[in-house]
Amino acid sequence: MRSKPSITTRFLPGLITLVSAVVLWEICVRLFQISPILLPSPSTVWVEFWKMPSFFLYNAGVTLVVTLAGFFLAAVFGILLAVVIVSSKTLERPVFSALVALNSVPKVALAPLFVVWMGIGPEPKIAIAVMLAIFAIVIDTVLGLRSVDPDMINLARVGRASAWQILTKVRLPCALPSIFAGLKVAISLALIGAIIGEFVGSSSGLGFAILTAQGQFDTPGLFVSLALLIAMGSLLFNLMEGIERLSIPWHTSVRSH
């Protein structure tokens, strides 16, 4: 019975939150005279950004590319693995066990080994982004694929649908809402993965910018990178939500919302 919210009403509250958080932060920093080396004020961060806008934007771009590549690969392989898990009784446990094992290893610990094995190109960063993002996609897709009403499968079987058709025409569409939940979690994790990768070995990207800023005790510079990360993360997440809305207008979670 709710009417559809317009773009403004959708994003205004978020924006207001953001702005008030920033203002509050500025006031606190000034009031308590917090040293900029500990916590710089938003205005300091803003000024810092405009000292080298192209540097920050370039590095943000580098991180964005790694994030998207990692996310994309995680989406493709994650959904693929979920399909394998759901389709094959034989492969289910092995694949799942391997995945859980892989996911239990903190990538931060593995990252140095990755660099040792793969060098310092974009590959280890993408690999880390993929590894971090893929798990949520697999788990959510598996849930989605398994939550199909058995009679819907029966409907397709009566139409003599092939296993492939049951997958693409019944299971996957049914699983889309779950898949999107996984993708929304994954896009954030891919971003974090990219940064972790850049921490370990890279000479560009926001992860690199953060590290060098840390090395110089340049807290304002560090915060510029963090702010850009927040902006990027929010943008990517909202983008995913938009795609979700366009892709599954038929689902209760979108309809009733």
């Binding site: 310092i120 090395g215 005790f217």
Partner: protein, 304 residues
Amino acid sequence: QGVEALSARMDFAPWGVQAAMHLAQVKGWFKDVGLDVDVQDGRGSANTLQLVNAGQVDVGQVQLGLVPQARMKSATVRSFAGFARATDLAAVVDRDSDYKTVADLKGKSIVCFAASPWAPFIDYWLAQGGLDRSTVELLLVDPAALWSTYTTRRADAILSTGPSIIPPAEAVRPSRGILASDAGVNFPSYGLIASDETIEKRGDALKALVASQQKAWAYLRDGNAGEGAEAMIQQRPTIKLTKEVLTRQIELTIETFETPATAGKPIGWQADADWNAALASMEKANAIPSGLTLSDIFTNDFIG
């Protein structure tokens, strides 16, 4: 005669110890010796050593004291030049505090990072002052958190290297170092490493690199530290480097260049005596077992 490509990875984010590399780059001294050197920032000496060992980079500039340990763990890297031949590991404390020796830190908090070259020596070092982990508060934090922990006075001392920490601390917490060697921890500092394979096959390139570095360090030593700082700032325009800090770091680094055993020897030349002393203190600290051969650790073959 073409130029030969060589990748050289530093220890950490840019700081004074790396000045000779950047200066050689700016002055064209690499080109002069037929090299095209790619100078990379690092993520810690240990990490750089791993990368050299794995063949991902050709040369590393690291804390050489790590080499014996790595060698014990079946790494195949050796040092082929040692610049900062005296120990620079130090417990950095407030300049006007009255801490003079390890023993003075009783009951105090000390911060370090777990992967630090300091780590294996901490217990031995504390023991020299009659202390142990129960009589001091030892904080092990991420390298990135090291600095803020010290400057916000959450710790009374920071276990690091004097030349890297003391200059930037000047502005926020004026400090001085209590050298690790005062308590018998003799730990050779910065120099260059390469894998056995590189040393065997690319001797000419290494020799050329050493030559360029000797030239650069000599130039820096002769009152031109400021130029080194400028070279770094020029090479790393996006990083907020401070000339004064860098200059001081370079100067402090150069102060660690001479040991009695290397007096009069060329820059980068390493003495058996220094290494024997180093190995002895490492053995005492249980960081390595005995029986390492010096030729597995370093070579002076490329010092011209």
